[in-house]
Structures are given as structure tokens and as C-alpha cells.
């Protein structure tokens, strides 16, 4: 399989670096390599580049430069936000944490960690589309709530939360709101004031930047403790010699993403719709997951009756198509997608889940190739199935039928 023929539809997992990003990073490996904490020329140049990148990221989300902390990625940003807010809150007697069941594990695991260490954890309900309703947030907030963390858009089903509604509730209660915007940034507009969040996580490799670098926005005045300690970098909030080449890459990727977002997202949305409609045309007994309209432009998530996700991925891979599944067997963890389960999708349905996430190089030809290949794959697997699940979960949703 030459790269030429390969069809990459797993952009939610990671994206390739944009060549312009690589070009932007290159001088920072060998030429401008100084430690930004040093005072000589080589250090000053690195520092200047670092602060330039900080400004770029700040501008990209409507923040001030001093509100940006560079991190090693989305997971560190999320961990830092949750644990850092909880520890700061604890100093003021707070001991309650609120999050949702559809968060990335980078939020859920720190929350569980804090729970094991004496915090009380409330997991909010979501509806069948994966939406968190603001009134549910309101119900659970307490005087001692240290942090609310609700993701902006979901990595599996693409659902986008009504964050500006939710933030009204948290603001009123005076509780800091963190949002994981790792999947959103570069795909849909992300502005911290419009969203009303106090903290926000992004990760470079999700928008054509390098892996191993991300950022955490912390609204001025928000009390937060560091996660990685041992140096005065990032205004004493994140120690370690700054990953200057990575940070430059992050900033360049953000710059490109913003400049091209409108055009790219419109194009991807069209392809996405072509794919969804096509899947309902070429396959029987499938269902569509996530919100019909409040969703990322690049995400398609379906469940296919009577087949298992990983098995589909294997055949797709043999055809050069890279996709993803929330089935237990594809996760290596024995658990089907916690996101699909939280949305009320039965385990046996989640078993057949399939996710395609499109990217800026995705073409109509690629989509059509997927639509051409997938029926035979599903047929083949269905022929091996000992048992047909009841069909009630598998039908075209009305909103989609109306469109078709």
C-alpha cells in the first residue's frame, strides 16, 4: 500500500504536521536553540520567539499572553487544570469536583485520582446525543465546588456542548469552569470569552502541529497550582526547559488553522455529509451517533448491526483506509466506549461502532472509495455472525431522513 493510495480518516486520533509547521520549527532545533531562561543573545532570541508564540496562541483564542501556559499536550493540560484547580480549591476548603461521563480519560482519570484522595466527584448526565444540559450543572453546584470540567467537543461522537450557556451557570456560582477544547481548536471557533470558560486545553497534534506540545489557558485571577514543579518557567506555573521548537510548531499550526478554518471546515462538512448519507445508502441497519447539528464538522460516528468494530477496521486497513472504533476489542481495555455507553447506547450496539474523522487533505474520491469498499466488508462479516441483534437500534434518524 503506497501512501498515495492510503486514506487517512482518523484525524481525531492525530494529524500529520503541516509542512509549513515543520519549516517553521526547523531553525529552532539547531540555530535558535538557546535556553529561554538565559540572558545571553542565544537565550534572548529563544525567549523572544517563545513570547511571540504565546501571543499567537493567546490571540487565537481571545486571551492575553500571560494567560497561556505551554504544556506537553492535551493530557497534561487537562491534568493540570483538574488537579491544579482542585489543589488550589482545597486550600480554601473546597472539595467537590464536577465533570461529565463523556470526557476524555485525561479529565476522568485525574478526577478519579482526586476522588480517591478525598474529593467528592459528581458526574453529570448527558442526553442521547451526548449533550450536557446547563440546568443539570446548576443542580449540582455547591459552595465547595472547586472545579467544573466539561469538554467543548467530544472526540468520539463530535458533539459540541452549549458551553456559553453552561458558563453562565458556573459564573453565577463563582466556580471555575475548565473545558477540553482539544478536538475543537482549528475546527470550530474557540474564544474563551464567548465560551465563558476559565480554563481551556488544546493539543498541537490535533491541528497539524507536532506531538508532545499543547497549551492551557488560565483566565487571569484564577487560582491554580502547578502540576510540574522545579523552575520559574511559564511564570512559575510549569517548570522545565521550554520545548521551543514544539511551541513554535504549535503557534504556526494555530496560525494556519485559523487562517484556513472557514474554508476548510466548510469543505470538510460537505464531505462529511456525503459520507454519512452515503453510508446510509450503501449499508442497511446502521445508526448514527452524536448530535445531528451540534457537532464537529469532521466527525462521523455510526454503529453497524451484527459486526464488531475492530473487525471492520482490519478489513478497512487492508484496503488502505484508517478509521477508528469504540468497540471493546479495539480499545485493548475490554470496555466499549464509555462515551457511547453514557449516551445510552447498549453495549451490543457499541460493539459495532465505527468512527471516521476527516481532515484537510480528505477528498471526495477518498470518501467515495470508502463508500465503495465498506458494503463488501460489512457483508463478509455479517455472513459470519451467529446471531442477529434486534433491529430497533438501527435506523436512519429522522433529521437525516429529512435531509436525504
Amino acid at each position: 500500500m503506497s501512501d498515495q493510495d492510503s486514506i487517512y480518516l482518523d484525524h481525531a486520533a492525530t494529524t500529520p504536521c503541516d509542512p509549513r509547521v515543520v519549516d517553521a520549527m526547523n531553525p529552532y532545533f539547531t540555530e535558535v536553540f538557546g535556553n529561554p531562561s538565559t540572558m545571553y543573545e542565544g537565550g534572548r532570541k529563544a525567549k523572544q520567539a517563545l513570547e511571540g508564540a504565546r501571543e499567537t496562541i493567546a490571540n487565537a483564542i481571545g486571551a492575553k499572553p500571560e494567560e497561556i501556559i505551554f504544556t506537553s499536550g492535551g493530557t497534561e493540560s487537562d491534568n493540570h487544570a483538574i488537579i491544579g484547580l482542585a489543589e488550589a480549591g482545597k486550600m480554601k476548603g473546597k472539595k467537590h469536583i464536577v465533570t461529565t461521563p463523556i470526557e476524555h480519560h485525561a479529565v476522568l482519570e485525574p478526577a478519579e485520582y482526586l476522588k480517591a484522595r478525598g474529593f467528592e466527584l459528581t458526574i453529570l448526565p448527558v442526553d442521547e446525543h451526548g449533550i450536557v444540559h446547563p440546568e443539570e450543572v446548576k443542580k449540582v453546584l455547591r459552595d465547595d465546588t472547586a472545579v467544573v470540567s466539561i469538554m467543548h467537543s467530544n472526540n468520539e461522537v463530535g458533539t459540541i456542548q452549549p458551553l456559553s450557556e453552561i458558563s453562565k451557570v458556573t459564573k453565577e456560582a463563582g466556580v471555575p469552569l475548565h473545558t477540553d477544547a482539544v478536538q475543537s481548536f482549528g475546527s470550530v471557533p474557540v474564544n474563551v470569552d464567548d465560551l465563558g470558560c476559565d480554563l481551556l486545553s488544546i493539543s498541537s497534534h490535533k491541528f497539524y502541529g507536532p506531538k508532545g506540545v499543547g497549551a492551557l489557558y488560565v483566565r487571569k485571577g484564577t487560582r491554580i497550582r502547578p502540576l510540574i514543579r522545579g523552575g520559574a518557567q511559564e511564570r512559575n506555573r510549569r517548570a522545565s526547559t521550554e520545548n521551543i521548537s514544539g511551541i513554535i510548531g504549535l503557534a504556526k499550526a494555530a496560525e494556519i488553522a485559523l487562517a484556513e478554518m472557514e474554508v476548510t471546515s466548510a469543505r470538510i462538512t460537505k464531505l462529511r455529509d456525503r459520507l454519512v448519507n452515503g453510508l446510509f445508502n450503501v449499508l442497511t441497519d446502521i445508526r448514527h451517533n452524536g448530535h445531528p447539528t451540534e457537532r464537529l464538522p469532521n466527525n462521523v460516528n455510526i454503529c453497524v448491526r451484527g459486526v464488531e468494530g475492530e473487525a471492520m477496521l482490519l478489513f478497512l486497513d487492508m484496503k488502505g483506509i484508517s478509521a477508528s472504533s469504540g468497540s471493546a476489542c479495539s480499545s485493548g481495555s475490554l470496555e466499549p466506549s464509555h462515551v457511547l455507553r453514557a449516551m445510552g447506547i447498549p453495549q451490543e450496539v457499541a460493539h459495532g461502532s465505527l468512527r471516521f474523522t476527516l481532515g484537510k487533505k480528505t477528498t471526495e474520491e477518498q470518501i467515495d472509495k470508502v463508500l465503495a469498499e465498506i458494503p463488501a466488508i460489512v457483508d463478509r462479516l455479517r455472513q459470519m455472525t451467529p446471531y442477529q441483534q434486534p433491529p430497533e437500534h438501527y435506523k436512519m434518524p429522522e433529521w437525516l431522513a429529512a435531509k436525504a
Binding site: 451484527g306 464488531e308 468494530g309 473487525a311 460493539h351 455472513q383 459470519m384 451467529p386
Partner: protein, 122 residues
């Protein structure tokens, strides 16, 4: 991640289907991951497995182990077929990724279930 042999059995599974009026039938499922398997056997001379077919709803490892266990069992005496372990199945496939080992339990269990069914009718 999967060996070539696993991928071969996955993509070209042997003995897929259901034997009509089979002498024994096994039906097993993995409640945690949701995989399901049905296995049917015919037994000759009340002694050896003369025919065997399977159907599996499951991942690559589940399908490949199902397929290979039918090959392993075909022609075996019942007690020998019963003695097939999940480790032997994995070995026959040239190994399985550690997180996939549990999938091979389905194939061993399904075969055992079919033999038990046959014997219960005895």
C-alpha cells in the same frame, strides 16, 4: 500487531457456517467485550470430530481463533479436542497481542460447549 497467520485466518476464515442437523452445538459469548460464537460439530463413531463449522461476531482475534480452532479440532478424538487450551490456540496462530489473549478463550470454550452438547444428547 497481529501475526500474518492471524490475519490470514481472519481474512480467510476456514469452516465458516452452520452444520445442518449437527451432532453437537456450542454457543458462547464474552459478556465483557460482547463477542459471540456458535460452533457446530458432527461426530463419527462416537469418537472423532468429522465435521466442524463456526460463526463468530467479534474482533479479528475472535474470528481468527475461531477459525484456527476448527482446523485444530477437525479429525481429533473428542477428549483430545476438549484438551485444547487457549494458549495452544494462540500458539497455533503464532501468538496474539497480550491484550487479545482473552479472545481465544471464546474458541476453546465454544468447542468444549459443542462437545458437551453432543455428549449430553448421548
Amino acid at each position: 500487531m497481529y501475526s500474518d497467520k492471524v490475519l490470514d485466518h481472519f481474512a480467510n476464515p476456514r469452516n465458516v457456517g452452520v452444520i445442518e442437523d449437527a451432532d453437537g452445538m456450542g454457543e458462547v459469548g464474552n459478556p465483557t467485550c460482547g463477542d459471540l460464537m456458535k460452533i457446530t460439530i458432527n461426530v463419527a463413531d462416537d469418537k472423532t470430530i468429522s465435521d466442524i463449522k463456526f460463526q463468530t461476531l467479534g474482533c479479528g482475534a475472535a474470528i481468527a481463533t475461531s477459525s484456527v480452532v476448527t482446523e485444530m479440532a477437525m479429525g481429533l478424538e473428542l477428549d483430545d479436542a476438549l484438551a485444547i487450551t487457549k494458549q495452544q490456540i494462540a500458539d497455533e496462530l503464532g501468538g496474539l497481542p497480550p491484550e487479545k489473549l482473552h479472545c481465544s478463550v471464546l474458541a476453546a470454550d465454544g468447542l468444549a460447549d459443542a462437545i458437551k452438547d453432543y455428549r449430553s444428547k448421548g
